[in-house]
Amino acid sequence: MKAAVVEFGPYLILIIVGFLPNEVWRVVGLLTARGLNEDSELVILSRTVATALLAGVIAKLILFSTGELANIPILVRVGAAMCAFVAYLLMKRSVFAGVIAGEVALLFGGFLFVH
């Protein structure tokens, strides 16, 4: 990649390996969705596939963390996620309150177990 950046310039590289391979799936979605209404079976199936995929991303981010998050023990991360969920339920299903509770739990647990 480094040699390619020198040869083609960073902006052309951005288009070739970033924009185009990413955008193609949006365009395929646009063409597929033409003429479909929101109750059609393909649209419902697409929603479940997207939801399951997103759930997979979430679980992986918590269990197989990268970067600085990986230095915080897995039990602390899972515990913090559970705190977030319980706080979300207790605080009238407030996403914001849940996220704050999860972050505070992570900070507390991280401080306790890493230091």
């Binding site: 799936w25 479909l36 596939v49």
Partner: protein, 242 residues
């Protein structure tokens, strides 16, 4: 939770969208994510203008991460393009599920181009939650405003991270990284009102780590197809038996 929202004009709907974006938990997430992205871009040695353009053109944090880390560590053009396109497959079902919500009888294909480009996880989750309460003729404007609010936040905090790169305390960096799974998790839970969506969520949470643990190739793609397919199948069986 979401009350019906009426706007006097498309312009008002657009700014209503911007406001919803700035007040939602996802702007917090984008701040955290793009501070990290900015710091990475700085370390790798690309310019801050390049990062801003990549945020606007690619508009998908995983693809940007792949691209920027590859600039630092190597990999051929083809390998990087392939990794980016695999990470982007999730956008396809998202667009298919979203666009029918935006369409009204007079909608032309070109009106759909911007919402298509803007489709990303945060925008998708919030659109599915908020759009049903917005009058159909204002949904595209609202959605574009929502997306511009998010994109503006991401671009701005990309710059912040780039020039702050000097190093966050590690624990704080970990807390910033944790914002993404936490907010995606709770927003998806809160969006999953129907049994079919709860099933998809549950299957995905279980399958994602399992397939990754087993070292299955394209684990997330399979998580989506198998988990989403199972949820859909259960829903069909329940419908047929009722």
């Amino acid at each position: 939770m979401s009350t019906s929202t009426t706007f006097p004009s498309s312009v008002a709907a657009y700014f209503g969208g911007v406001k919803s974006a700035l007040l939602s938990v996802f702007s917090l997430v984008l701040m955290g994510t793009y501070i990290g992205m900015g710091a990475l871009a700085h370390d790798v040695g690309v310019s801050s203008g390049w990062l801003a353009l990549s945020t606007m053109l690619v508009w998908a944090a995983p693809a940007q991460l792949i691209m920027i880390s590859a600039l630092g560590t190597g990999g051929t053009l083809l390998e990087v393009a392939l990794a980016v396109t695999l990470s982007a497959t999730r956008l396809f079902p998202m667009v298919v599920a979203l666009l029918p919500l935006l369409r009204s009888p007079g909608t032309r294909l070109r009106d759909m181009l911007l919402p298509t480009h803007f489709t990303s996880i945060s925008m998708w989750v919030e659109s599915l939650r908020l759009l049903p309460a917005v009058a159909r003729e204002h949904r595209i404007a609202f959605c574009n405003g929502l997306s511009c609010g998010y994109m503006g936040t991401a671009v701005t905090f990309g710059f912040v991270g780039y020039y702050l790169a000097a190093g966050l305390p590690p624990l704080l960096a970990g807390v910033l990284l944790f914002l993404t799974p936490m907010s995606f998790f709770l927003s998806t839970v809160s969006n999953a009102r129907m049994m079919i969506d709860r099933l998809a969520l549950g299957f995905g949470l279980a399958l994602g780590p399992l397939l990754a643990y087993w070292g299955v190739q394209l684990d997330l793609l399979w998580t989506g197809i198998i988990g989403g397919g199972l949820a859909y199948a259960v829903h069909r069986v329940r419908e047929a038996t009722q």
